[in-house]
Symmetry: C2
Subunit: 188 residues, 2 copies
């Protein structure tokens, strides 16, 4: 690792600054070719990693979300996720809050699964996945005005088939195949 220099970054210029992210161009110099240019990308305005929670029920089911996503103008099957925009909360507390707000569930125990970037050419966001054991419904979801979210409960032993054969019109977030890898590995 240490010997690879990569691109050398110069100043960044902010163009449009939004609430959640900013459109940015950053100068770079490639030491291999000596040339410079700029890379257009997005910088998250919310600190920390995005938190995803994978609730597992005592019946061997995983609870996913069907979320209407404006950028795709479509429903998407994905994990319940939240930004670290609640003052003073750590990632597990964010996972707990999102699980209750988006799905109306609570869980008994949380474990870290995996984390990392997922759209590396565009944005500095990273996502941290937590598994939530003993998940059970406790209330109705409390959705925000910007949210259209429905729970999707799938038996874990049918998750692979469901992801590969989703209902018509439902896109599947490809990151769920990584979740499936971990559920298979954990033999849940």
């Amino acid at each position: 690792m240490a010997e690879s220099q990569g691109l050398i970054l110069g100043p960044s210029r902010d163009f449009t600054r939004g609430k959640y992210f900013t459109y940015v161009r950053t100068q770079y110099t490639n030491p291999r070719t000596g040339t410079s240019g700029y890379w257009e990308h997005v910088r998250m305005n919310v600190p920390g990693r995005i938190v995803a929670v994978i609730p597992i029920t005592s019946n061997g089911e995983v609870v996913l979300t069907k979320t209407f996503r404006v950028p795709l103008n479509s429903w998407v099957l994905e994990a319940c996720v939240g930004l670290m925009d609640k003052e003073g909360k750590n990632e597990i507390e964010i996972a707990q809050a999102e699980l209750r707000e988006e799905l109306g569930y609570e869980a008994v125990a949380y474990d870290f699964l995996f984390a990392g970037p997922f759209n590396t050419g565009l944005v500095n966001a990273e996502m941290a996945y937590y598994i939530a054991y003993g998940a059970h419904k406790v209330c109705e979801p409390q959705l925000e005005d910007s949210e259209a979210i429905e729970p999707v409960v799938v038996p874990i032993n049918k998750l692979s088939h469901y992801l590969l054969n989703p209902p018509q019109g439902l896109l599947v977030d490809v990151k769920l195949f990584g979740v499936l890898y971990f559920l298979t590995r954990l033999k849940i």
Copy 2:
């Protein structure tokens, strides 16, 4: 699926338009609450899906890339990828071109693996993964000025350990765990 209405989208307004993507705000109305707002997001200017290629050698190795990513100011382990920005080429032809340009490899046969969105709250991009069998090095990579990319050859039976224990300073694109799921499933 059909009964779920989701959010109703109104007009979009383009703010900064870049070469590869545009910062956009789109009005939405939530039929559940009757309220409206806008969603800030990114629209790709390049048509089609992003193509990722997973080359498999006859020695049972997978060839990944260590790519320096400006948005993260870091090297990232990920798949060899390309945009559909070469006139008239289909996804497999893009996969072939990127495999040769970024890694200096050719392959004998290509199969579709999986596809879908991966950053659903931010951007309309979708990624299509292809596996490339019989991959072998034929030339030196032909990198662009904006690219700092090195091949990383990992025996498939050690890929899980490598992804979970990467060299220090190397981020791992979480989508690779989805690739690992398919390689495990295919028993390659």
